[in-house]
């Protein structure tokens, strides 16, 4: 069983929902990334989503775009992300990590080489925003060969017929993009998300996690209540960048990450009043 499948089995047994923080590898600091991952796990992350910096992150809003730019300026590339993973796995064998990025760095490394190197460094899954199921055959062949999961997005614009196509190629979990737009945009409509998640469930038995538009504990709790997990991206990237840019040292950045994720964990677990 893959780490991700095991993770959701365990969560289900305990009646919990997945909390999945997203950070851009190398932001707000290259050396800080591994420490940040440990901190997020300690603060309650079930799975970590690690952004692979790309020069042209077409689906990202301004917050994560700037995260990619900062990471690239510091020299973080796909190869560096795999080094971060190797380091992380020296101390954590348990927490699943998925890489989220764009097609070209993976294409450039080559599907087979990417699969071998990513798996060897302890990566569990890949989410490439710009590789829809129609284009994924070659890549998926290699990911399956090494036993890595491929996470796919389903959007509010995805018709039922495409859900079957996506479910056929996907493994690990389904990532439901809760709104039309780029990362960090807009506000969530909980009822609409609930309806969409229910619709997706009729096409797949995979867990369904929801991202885009989750800003804080209450919005995370609202979405977690109608899905299997939540992804927190832009709000976290923004918070860490704010602390770093205000002159905060590594300890301050880690503390901010811990505070934010702990708060989200508590809300998702229902340990605080939803009126909070």
């Amino acid at each position: 069983m893959s780490r991700i499948a095991a993770c959701f089995t365990e969560l289900k047994a305990r009646g919990r929902k997945a909390v999945i923080p997203y950070i851009v590898a190398g932001d707000p600091g290259v050396e800080l990334t591994v420490e940040l991952m440990f901190t997020l796990v300690e603060a309650g992350a079930d799975i970590i989503e690690l952004g692979v910096p790309f020069s042209d992150p077409m689906s990202e809003g301004p917050v994560i775009q700037r995260g990619h730019e900062r990471a690239l300026e510091r020299g973080m590339r796909l190869r560096g992300v795999l080094e971060v993973m190797t380091e992380f796995r020296k101390h954590n064998e348990h927490t699943p990590v998925l890489l989220m990025g764009y097609a070209n760095p993976v294409e450039h490394m080559g599907h087979a080489q990417f699969a071998d190197r990513a798996f060897a460094s302890g990566v569990d899954a890949l989410l490439t925003v710009d590789i829809p199921p129609e284009e994924v055959a070659g890549l998926n062949h290699e990911l399956r060969r090494v036993g890595m999961d491929n996470i796919f997005l389903i959007a509010p614009t995805t018709p039922a017929a495409r859900m079957d196509l996506i479910a056929k190629e996907a493994s690990g979990f389904i990532y439901y993009v809760s709104l039309k737009g780029v990362t960090g945009a807009g506000n969530l409509d909980r009822e609409a998300v609930a309806r969409s998640v229910a619709e997706i469930r009729s096409h797949t038995s995979l867990p369904i996690c929801v991202g885009f538009g989750i800003k804080d504990g209450p919005s995370a709790a609202a979405v977690a209540a109608v899905s299997d997990g939540v992804v927190i991206g832009s709000a976290l990237v923004q918070r860490l960048a704010d602390v770093a840019q205000a002159g905060g040292d590594d300890a301050a950045v880690l503390a901010a990450a811990r505070d934010m994720l702990s708060d989200i964990r508590e809300h998702v677990d229902g340990n605080v009043s939803s009126a909070a």
Binding site: S55, D56, R77, H108, T158, K180, A185
Partner: protein, 406 residues
Amino acid sequence: MTIDLNPLSFSNQPDADGRFGSYGGKYVAETLMSALAELEAVYRQLSEDADFQAEFDYDLAHYVGRPSPLYEARRWSDEIGGARIFFKREDLNHTGAHKVNNTVGQALLAKHMGKPRVIAETGAGQHGVATATIAARLGLECHVFMGAEDVQRQSLNVYRMKLLGATVVPVTSGSATLKDAMNEAMRDWVTNVDNTFYIIGTVAGPHPYPMLVRDFQCVIGREARAQCLAQNGKLPDALVACVGGGSNAIGLFHPFLNDETVAMYGVEAGGLGIETGQHAAPLSAGSPGVLHGNRTYLMQDADGQITHTHSVSAGLDYPGVGPEHSWLKDIGRVNYVSANDEEALAAFHKTTRVEGIMPALETAHALAYAERLAATMTPDQHIVVNLSGRGDKDILTVARLEGIEV
């Protein structure tokens, strides 16, 4: 417009998945996949609809001013002393470039799909102007994304777009040029996909764009082919066009692809010289990858990051190229070459002074290569150069480069 039913191998691309050989495809976020499918279905239906064709042909004749002339550059050809050079005068189109052929077509699609809002990316501003123009005529809301650096170097076109009622959005992310404008247009589209039609300006992007932009631009080559036969009694020996994304080039080349005797040259922007790495010539010095929805030749580094480009012409300053060009390169049907900034500027002055035709700096790259090519040929041979745009927009750039205050 007619759909090309020619069964020969060069003209039956792309396949059902939008692929030209291994290039093309649909590499976009899931949110856009159903919009692309809808666009493809509407386009396939309308491209066989006689009323739609008549509407498009009417607009090309009465609004754009087609057919554009095929003009023999006698004085310049005499001076070179080699092949005779003919200009396909796309600069005489309404708005001054070939871009309008495509925007007229796509705006008609937007109208038929009931989309009240159009967006576009632009580099030199020609596609932005052509989009703003047709949006004004059809009463569509129009937003044009333009790299902040290009907003500076193409200020005249920025003002033209504003006069036409468009909102020009300067893009400061990345290198603040055409590729970043395209990123931003994609981000807008993914957010406003319900009411927005994205009018892509070149033969790049996800399927069906490379196909439908090509089909709309093929009027250039169809006219040129008929004009060569009527005026000269024979097909040309060579075609030359500049290639950024490659829409004017594919428009000229495509109707000739099955004419084996016609050689073709796509001229990329050599910038400061291919050897310096400061250029915008992915077919000459790049490698295949995935960007902006399609697999194609790209300028990229050892980690698959897209590298910054350089060209004196904003319209060629793009790290990718249309996927059909990548395929035509690999199969050897078209030769892809380059002309650098200096050669393009020299050609700009040359055709202005010798023919009284001031070309766009993009077009000047094609002219620079045509001059080189013509010198190796004989006076009984003919070259058709796509005079893809006029140079008024570049006057300030040229003056600045030469230290002249206007």
